[in-house]
Amino acid sequence: MKALVCVKRVIDYNVKIRVKTDKSGVETENVKMSMNPFDEIAVEEAVKLKEKGVIDEIIVLSIGAETSQETIRTGLAMGGDRGVLVKTNGQEIDPLNVGKIIKYIFDKESPDMVILGKQAIDDDCNQTGQILSSLLDCHQATFASKVEVNDDKTINVTREVDGGLETIKISIPCVITTDLRLNEPRYASLPNIMKAKQKKIDILDINDLNIDIKRRVETIEVSEPPERKPGVIVNDVDSLIDKLKNEANVI
């Protein structure tokens, strides 16, 4: 089987986010970027399936600026076989358009499954996987916490749902979106980094794909959460009750 894994380059989740002064977005200049953590889990799952002998080839796809090659390289160092970058010119791409681009690559490569993070930690959309399965008109399993491929090539996926787990059976081709507890991504080791350097990354220009990538959503404003007022220390229970009653008006 063949797997297409989608990875997004995002601001590292440990970096303190700063909003641009004109409130048009967040500051990305000189900020540490990494692979979206959910996508890292997607890569790991594909590599695991390859180690089990279920998958023969893993294609790591990213959509973004030239710098996203670094993110693809990381995926290749974890065990991906080759990369595809759909190069943008810095414009924002809505989830629907991301879905259309992935579909374009899907039609070209005909993989048996597409594995991607349930959401990217920058825009928190949680739409791409669902939109993609609808564009491809194929099965989907979202929020996967366990993936088992059966002998007949059907796939059992355990999903994290409210208050428990749900196991479903889907058939290929399919879209699987990964949740946090699916696996623990491996470290990138030197021999694998070296091997990854030799692996091929195809670069396609987004303008050559003939896909309408007009935005349907307009960002009006990005703002920081309101600053929290510092707490106060009260001397005794009576003054605490007094403050809750008369200042905070909560009791």
């Binding site: 440990n14 000189n30 953590p37 890292e40 470290y187 990138a188 350097k197």
Partner: protein, 464 residues
């Protein structure tokens, strides 16, 4: 009893001192609990004038003073001794940041500021302090200076001594010493501030200092390398220094025993290898290279280290995980009984022989010894700690400890090293200092001490 201080206390604010036994006692013990002393009173002066009042009072009445910062030291330098009538001056309330100059990249801070708080204030300017310590959340700037603190970034910025432009202090007779310059070059005779740096509170109370500060960048990549022998460690160290030079912000060493110790505490990290030595290297992207990991990967290619057991963090989260291993070692060690610590430095070329010979001698002395070996390799600094599983009673333990120290320090001496690389002397290494420093040096140190502190009231019983 308190009458003794009444005339002084009248001139201070109520919040500037405490006679409360539990508060005083808390400040009479070091954080590891190795040194427990006593005092009647602790002062928390909020201003220079208050400090001056206290010191002048003590000078007049011959009352010994222990200056104290965050009390995170490891050699018992910041706590009073037992029943010596010493008072404590804790600087925590003298904690203003006086000036941040983002043109010449300097900051003037008072000594009670906590290192982390200073860094937090610098963060919006994309600047940082030149030092980084494990205890950054509680250690104070005054103590950092008084102990010439080292820590994790010495390889890049040098120790505190290299980063201080000016100092302000109150001398043992209560005089005000003002040398709060902010210029980088200042060749005007003897550099007296350098004597105060690393004096461990024996020459005066540092009240403020001006630091050279540096650009901060969040983009870093942490690497862990696993190696068979120390010879391999040195080899890779040389390769990294020549290839990555200015990007290296830490080069740390851990032996297998200390690695296992840390992993026991934090749970397994699932490192894909095991070996005798581990190095943690931090590379920081100071010049905003766009694809920093790719840049590092291409350097690896040139290094011809293809078969090296090495892992590279893919994200800041993994950076932190890797660092956690190194940072947990001292904490994991604290949970063991009978650990004898040594903070030594040695010329890089001698470290291998030092480890080999002293380990052999120690095992011969007692085969049940384990050695916890880690440190800042880039600064030639080795924490060489010895622990023993045997249950020893107090007397046996003290003899055992004495013998272990003797063995280690004789080899440090033989291989031309220093018996205290970054922790200082305090009470812990006072006797050894006499043995391993020349009589001539000790004599001159004593003379200098006398010039600053003729009545020997400033942190007596420490260092010399």
């Amino acid at each position: 009893m308190t009458n003794k201080y009444n005339s002084l206390l009248k001139t201070l604010k109520k919040t500037e001192y405490s006679l409360d036994k539990s508060i005083v006692n808390n400040h009479c013990v070091d954080w590891r609990g190795n040194y427990r002393g006593s005092s009647e009173i602790i002062f928390f002066p909020k201003s220079l004038t208050s400090i001056q009042k206290i010191v002048k009072f003590c000078f007049k009445k011959n009352i010994p003073i222990v200056p104290q910062g965050g009390n995170t030291g490891l050699v018992g330098g910041s706590v009073p001794r037992f029943n010596k009538g010493e008072i404590i001056i804790n600087l925590c309330k003298l904690n203003n940041i006086r000036e941040i100059d983002i043109v010449s990249n300097t900051i003037t801070v008072e000594s009670g500021c906590i290192l982390q708080n200073v860094n937090d204030r610098l963060e919006p300017h994309n600047l940082q302090m030149p030092i980084s310590l494990g205890s950054k959340g509680s250690c104070q700037i005054g103590g950092n200076i008084a102990t010439n603190a080292g820590g994790l970034n010495v390889i890049k910025f040098g120790s505190i001594r290299n980063n201080i432009l000016g100092i302000e202090a109150i001398l043992p007779n209560g005089e005000f010493y003002d040398d709060l310059k902010t210029v980088k070059k200042n060749n005007t005779g003897f550099d007296i501030k350098q004597l105060l740096i690393g004096s461990e509170g024996t020459l005066g109370i540092i009240t403020a200092a001006t630091f050279q500060i540096h650009k901060k960048t969040n983009d870093r990549v942490v690497i862990i390398i696993c190696l068979k022998s120390f010879n391999h460690v040195l080899n890779i160290y040389q390769k990294f220094i020549s290839s990555f030079g200015e990007f290296i912000t830490a080069f740390e060493l851990m032996n297998e025993f200390s690695m296992n110790l840390a992993q026991k505490l934090i749970g397994s990290m699932k490192l894909p290898f095991t070996g005798n030595y581990y190095c943690l290297v931090e590379l920081t992207n100071f010049i905003d290279i766009e694809n920093f990991s790719n840049f590092i990967y291409s350097k690896f290619e040139k290094l011809q280290i293809d078969n090296m057991q090495l892992i590279v963090a893919k994200s800041e989260n993994e950076n932190k995980n890797f660092w956690q291993i190194r940072e947990e070692i001292p904490l994991a060690e604290k949970l063991l009984e009978n650990v004898i610590q040594h903070d030594v430095s040695l010329p890089l070329n001698n470290i291998e022989n030092f480890i080999f010979e002293s380990s052999k001698a120690l095992k011969k002395f007692n085969p049940n010894i384990s050695i916890i070996n880690f440190g800042h390799l880039g600064d030639n600094n080795l924490h060489f700690n010895v622990c023993i599983d045997d249950k020893l009673n107090k007397k046996n333990y003290s003899n055992f400890k004495k013998k272990v120290n003797e063995i280690i320090f004789s080899f440090v001496n033989k291989f031309n090293g220093s018996i205290s690389a970054e922790h200082g002397i305090g009470q812990l290494r006072k006797d050894e200092l006499k043995r391993y420093k020349s009589a001539e040096e000790i004599k001159r140190m004593k003379k200098i001490k006398k010039i600053f502190d003729p009545k020997n009231i400033m942190n007596p019983g420490k260092v010399i």
